[in-house]
């Protein structure tokens, strides 16, 4: 198939902008967005490039998103890198699991809707999040007997200990305090364009990006295989 030079240029611009900004919005990048939506050649070329770079490009609402595929170590985060970003330099595995638990806690509380969208909450106070984490960790701890926790690899007791051993200091942003640990995670999510973290008001809000990714991608039944993977089973068993 023959391609016009102009189409190739457009596709390259689009892909480069996606690497740079991770998204292309109709309102801010009208030309690029239109080229992708309206021109099939351009779209094919961009998809091809994405395939090479182990990414997916999805159009949700009025925005194109770059989504790294699993195993993509250039544009996606490996577990080790995530740990570096989320925990302090001295952070242990316990801290890392705790940070995953915190992110899950945020998602579960914001995306419970069963209607047309799963987004079910406008904002959340950081204080409430802190209390929820503590409360749910305690629920987890009480759920298991000491014996059971000793035999299992990751235990809520460990995470609770890790959480409680963080100092509490409202004014500190060091990752060795509860506030600092959580605000570190929140700031990472904010840098990723997923939430708005209003430190002055002690509030978090989710962005359109996160809302759409949750609705169309993460919670999409078609991607249920990821859940199966997390739960360590095979698709047949869980369906």
């Amino acid at each position: 198939m023959l391609y016009q030079l102009e189409d190739i240029q457009f596709s390259q611009q689009i892909f480069y902008r996606l690497i740079e900004k991770h998204q292309i919005q109709e309102t801010t990048d009208y030309d690029l967005y239109q080229a992708y939506i309206g021109n099939e050649c351009v779209r094919l070329l961009v998809k091809e490039q994405a395939e090479t770079a182990m990414c997916q490009i999805e159009c949700y609402g009025d925005t194109l998103y770059l989504i790294p595929k699993e195993g993509n170590e250039v544009l996606g985060f490996s577990k080790r890198e995530l740990k570096q970003k989320l925990c302090s330099s001295k952070g242990t595995d316990k801290d890392y699991y705790l940070s995953q638990f915190v992110i899950l806690m945020i998602l579960v509380n914001f995306y419970e809707g069963q209607g047309a969208s799963s987004h079910s909450r406008e904002f959340m106070q950081v204080g409430e999040l802190q209390n929820l984490i503590l409360e749910q960790l305690k629920v987890g701890v009480n759920h298991f007997s000491n014996q059971e926790q000793k035999t299992s690899g990751i235990a809520f007791t460990n995470m609770l200990e890790a959480y409680e051993s963080l100092r509490s200091d409202e004014n500190s942003r060091a990752k060795s305090t509860k506030e600092g640990f959580i605000s570190g995670i929140l700031r990472f999510l904010q840098d990723q364009g997923l939430i708005e973290y209003l430190e002055a008001d002690d509030l978090i809000k989710t962005t359109d990006k996160l809302n759409r990714l949750m609705d169309f991608n993460l919670l999409n039944q078609n991607h249920y295989d990821r859940v199966v993977k997390v739960l360590g089973g095979t698709l047949d068993e869980s369906n």
Partner: protein
Amino acid sequence: METDFLRQFSKRMKKVGTYALLFRNSIAKTTWKHYDFLNYDEQVNLIFTMLLFIMEKSLKEEPCTIDDIGNFMDQLNRQYFHKNLSVDDCKELAKFMVNVIFCNDGQTMYFNGFNYQESKFEEIYVSFVGNSIIYLDNDVKRTSYYLTENGYELLLSTLEVDSHLKLTIQELIFQLHLEKANYDKAVEDVKQIFNLLRMQIQKIKEAKEKIRKNVLLYKESDYEELVGENLDRIQETRNKLAQHWDYVKKRVYELEIEEIGIENLGSEQQEQLNCLKIIESYLSRGLDEFQQILTSHFNLKSLYAKELQALLQSKPIKRFNLRNEIYHPIMENPNYLENLHSFLLPLFVKKPDKIYNLNKAIEFQQPLIKPDKEEEFFTFDEEIDEETWIKEKQERLLLYRDSLKLILSFATQAEGVSLQHLQKTLSNADLNRLIPTVEIFKELMMELLQEKEINLNVWKTEQSQNIIQETWEFELSRVLLDLIEQEPQWGNLKQINITRMKDTSLTEAEEVCFSQVKNEQGQFIRIRCTNVLITAQ
């Protein structure tokens, strides 16, 4: 059974639901007790006052942060409620009201209204106050609250008129007022019309946002209703407003002509003229708003069509429940956290590593020291009006002087005076004299603190030996000496000492807070400064 009379029931429930949820969110909350609002009536009055404050801000399109609401609460309390609440308490109370009562802690609010046609309960979505992110002058990211369509409806529905008729009735009343030449009433009415227009714009804006976020969330019936309303408003009211505008302009012109004819205009007529001018400005703004409704109306139409089309192309998405499918299993077995990152992976994108450019190492170094600024030239588009400029400067200088005078009048007492004492004892009017603007107060205090000890005799000698150039900028020595010269009771003063509180043996606080002080941009802010002791002997 005859149920015709229940046909509109779900519509009624929509209205009732807003009240019901507002009161459900506020009633029996223990937080009220902390702030001494025990009486239910008091609470309801306060809730509506706060909503009206947010509406006022929304109408003016001004930012409305928790601080603004808290400050308003503080003023309100001081002037009317007289509860024993500090500024911080007021802010906390405002937070409680906005977050818990108006926003339900961020959880979406639904009221279940029964639909007798369908014989089932239907969820009615309710929201009073929305929030958006704004950046204030100093680049601080804040949440600003605004009234949503429900909120507007709730507040404006006190008229008990169907929303469809509201505008026409308002117009009728307005016309009557104009004809009877009751102008200040007419001003109120025209404001009301303007509010309704703003509400319509807000309604379209929200609909657009909703459609953009998820077209499925937007009901077809809502669209139909909105488009119908838009068209009605555009058709009916535009002409009428234009007529009013002509009429008002004519009246203003007539009054102005009269003014020229009869040298002295009666104060009553003067007032009428002012009212008419206000009406005129509102009407012309109203016409602009109409233009906006018109354009947003067409934008809305094309947006909805586009989104629906896109929806047709994509298959419906089935979703699983995060809590059931992932969260609960993890609570049962935390080992699953091990692989959770693979589920979250699509959310995160890494910035590629940067590449070091070796050429940077052998580049010529740029000197770090910048050359002195070249002399700045000011050019004025208009001719410099020196007189006005000098007058402004003189007025400003008087503010410094007045503030200093106030401080001195207390400092000459035996014990001297501390800032904290001033803050506690001064009346509001005197506080305004002390801090006319934050900038002036800051400069004055900085100068004083720098001097620490002022020996007035030395200063007087210095002044007499120097040739004084006329200047309109603030200089502590000159203002101070002028002041002492003109106030005979201070003629014998020899020394003024300014000490930071922490350096004294006194046990007063090290810092003082002044709330509700004006800065030069006209905003009311809160400042914190070092507590100092000033003595004059």
